[in-house]
Symmetry: C2
Subunit: 330 residues, 2 copies
C-alpha cells in the first residue's frame, strides 16, 4: 500500500460516452484506474430515468467511479478534462482561444462542488476562431500528456502535429506546449452512419480480420483523380464494386474505411500543401491508429509515433503548472 | 369516358419506397394515375409479415395499385421501370452498359408473369463500368422522358446534362437518346443521416421556411478554400458556428444542405474542368430542384431547365421504340 499512500491527485477523463478515473502518485505515476460507461450522455439519461437533478446524477456517477478514493484521500485535488466541461456537462468551462498554452500557470479552471467543502476542477477546451471555427474538449489534455510523455524539453518550441482519430478526428498543430491551430473531421461518426444505416450497409458482411488489401484500395482511390471528388461521390463505389463483382462483401467495410480515412488525410495534407509536415504523433486506440498509420504510409508519411492513454499525464501536468499539488505528503 | 377508352399502356415507376402507376393513352397522354407506398422495400416487408412468397406479395401490390385498369384493359401492355428490376425486386433486369441508347429498338426487357397469360415488362437499368463503376435504375427512363418532353429532335445528337437530385443524386451526360457517362453522389442519404442522427442533429431547430441566406452561406463555404477539403472536414462547422454564436439553430439544416449540395456541384464541375458544361436539365421534385438551381447560380450556372414527372413519358417512349403498342384501338 506504499503507492496508495502517496496518492496526490484524482484525474478524470470524462467524455460523452465513457468516464475514466486515475489515482495518481509521485511523478505522475498511475496508482490505480477505473472506467465506466458513465459518460455525460449516459448520466443525463440516468437523471431523466430516476427523476434526479443533473447535479445529483453527476454526483452519483462520480461516487460510483471513484467514491472510495475520495473518502480515503479527502484532501487531494480532483481534476477532470473532457465533455464534462461542456454545456451538456456538469459545469461549463469556457474555451481558451488559440494560441493556447496548455500548461500556462495562469489559466483558469472551472470548478463545481462535489461534496461539502470539496470541488472538482475542470480543464477548459480549446477554440480556434477561424472562418470555420473549431473546438475540442479533452483532446487538449491528451495532447499535453503526449508532449510530456514524448520527452520533449519543456522549453522547446519545436512544432509537432498530433492526430487524435475517432468519432471526430482532430489534427492539431502544437508549438512546445501551445496549440496553434487545429481541424476536426467527422470521419468516424460518418463512417459509423454510412456503414450501419445507408444503402452501403446492405453490402457489408462482417469479417473476423481487417482486410488491409481492401483498406489500401480505398486509400488509393482517395489519392486518385476520383479522390479529388467529394467523398459523397466516391462512397457509392462501395456498392457498385460489389454489384459488378469487383469487391467482396466481406471487404466493403474496410474499403469504405480506407476511402474515408484517405479522404481525410488528403484534405488535411492538401491544406498544408508545400509546407513540410511537422513530426506526427497519433494518440488513439491501437486498432484505429494502425489504420491511420497504414493510410499515412500510402501518402509517403512513414515516421509516425504512437501514444495511448495520455490524458492522465496531461491532467497531472496541468495540476503541476497551476500549483495544485500539495507538497509531497510523505 | 372517351379518354379511358383510348387507354393503350399501363406504365409503372416502381422504386424502393414508392410505386406510381399511369394509365396512358393516345400520344403518351396520362389518362389516370395512382401512387402508393408500395415500393420494393415495403412489399418485401409485407411478404415477411403475411408469410407470402415475394412473387405473391408483388402480385398483390400490383393489384392494389392498378388491378382495375388491368381488368378493364386485359390486352394493353404493362411496363415498369425502377428498382422493381433489381436483385431485390420482382424480376432482375440486367443492366445495359454505357453508351446506352435508351430508345434502341433492339434492347431487351425483362418480364414476369403477372396473371395467367399476361406479363409485365421491366426496363433494365444502366451501368457505367468505369474504374469506380456506377449504376442507375429508373433514372434512365426519367431521362428518356425528359428528352422526349424537351422537344429535342429525335435525330439530334446534341449533348445534354441531366441532374436527378435525391437520395442518390445522378449527374448524367446524354447524347441524343444515348447515356454516355454518369456519376452518383450520396448527398441526400448522407444529409438525412447527418441531420437526424449525428452530433449536428443536436444543433438543429426546425424552421417553417427555407433560410436561403443560410443555404447560400453553406454553398459559398463549399466554393472557398475550405471547400477544397472533404465534406467531413467542413461539416463540423455546422456545430461550431452555432457554438460561437455565428449561426442560428434554425439555420443549421439549410446551412448543411448548402454545404453538401455545394460540395457535390463543386466535385462534378471540377471533374469536367475546362470543358463547356452542356445544357442542364434538373429532373426532381420542386423543393429539391429549387435548392440545386440556387446553388448552381452561385457556381455561375444560370441556364437550367426543370422538368417533373417524366418517367411515364419515358416508359411510353420505350413502348413505342420496341413496337409494344397496339395499333390505335379506335
Amino acid at each position: 500500500m506504499t503507492n496508495i499512500a502517496e496518492a496526490q491527485l484524482i484525474a478524470l477523463d470524462w467524455g460523452t460516452t465513457s468516464a475514466r478515473a486515475y489515482l495518481m502518485g509521485r511523478g505522475g505515476s498511475i496508482v490505480a484506474n477505473r472506467s465506466a460507461s458513465l459518460g455525460i450522455m449516459q448520466v443525463a439519461a440516468q437523471a431523466k430515468e430516476n427523476s434526479l437533478t443533473l447535479d445529483a446524477a453527476f454526483e452519483q456517477a462520480l461516487a460510483e467511479l471513484c467514491g472510495e478514493w475520495m473518502e480515503t484521500y479527502p484532501l487531494i485535488p480532483v481534476i477532470a478534462c473532457g465533455m464534462i466541461g461542456s454545456q451538456q456537462g456538469w459545469v461549463e468551462a469556457t474555451y481558451r482561444a488559440v494560441p493556447a498554452n496548455l500548461a500556462a500557470p495562469e489559466f483558469e479552471l472551472a470548478s463545481v462542488e462535489i461534496s461539502p467543502g470539496r470541488r472538482m476542477h475542470v480543464i477548459p477546451g480549446v477554440l480556434d476562431l477561424k472562418t470555420l471555427p473549431d473546438v475540442m474538449r479533452g483532446e487538449e489534455t491528451q495532447i499535453l500528456g503526449a508532449v510530456e510523455l514524448g520527452g520533449t524539453d519543456s522549453r522547446s518550441e519545436m512544432e509537432q502535429l498530433f492526430l487524435l482519430p475517432g468519432t471526430h478526428s482532430k489534427w492539431v498543430k502544437v508549438q512546445g506546449r501551445t496549440i496553434t491551430e487545429f481541424s476536426t473531421s467527422m470521419t468516424g461518426e460518418t463512417f459509423a452512419l454510412l456503414s450501419s444505416q445507408s444503402i452501403l450497409s446492405k453490402m457489408i458482411e462482417s469479417s473476423e480480420s481487417v482486410s488491409w488489401i481492401a483498406f489500401e484500395r480505398g486509400v488509393q482511390v482517395s489519392q486518385s483523380a476520383n479522390g479529388a471528388a467529394d467523398l459523397m461521390l466516391t462512397a457509392f463505389s462501395a456498392r457498385t464494386l460489389v454489384l459488378t463483382g469487383r469487391l467482396q462483401r466481406t471487404e466493403v467495410s474496410d474499403y469504405l474505411s480506407g476511402l474515408m480515412i484517405g479522404a481525410e488525410i488528403r484534405s488535411v495534407i492538401g491544406a498544408w500543401d508545400g509546407s513540410v509536415l511537422p513530426p506526427l504523433t497519433i494518440c488513439g486506440n491501437k486498432e484505429l491508429s494502425a489504420r491511420y498509420r497504414r493510410a499515412l504510409k500510402n501518402f509517403g508519411i512513414t515516421e509516425v509515433r504512437e501514444l495511448q492513454g495520455t490524458a492522465p499525464r496531461g491532467v497531472w501536468a496541468v495540476a503541476c503548472a497551476l500549483g495544485l499539488l500539495q507538497a509531497s505528503p510523505v
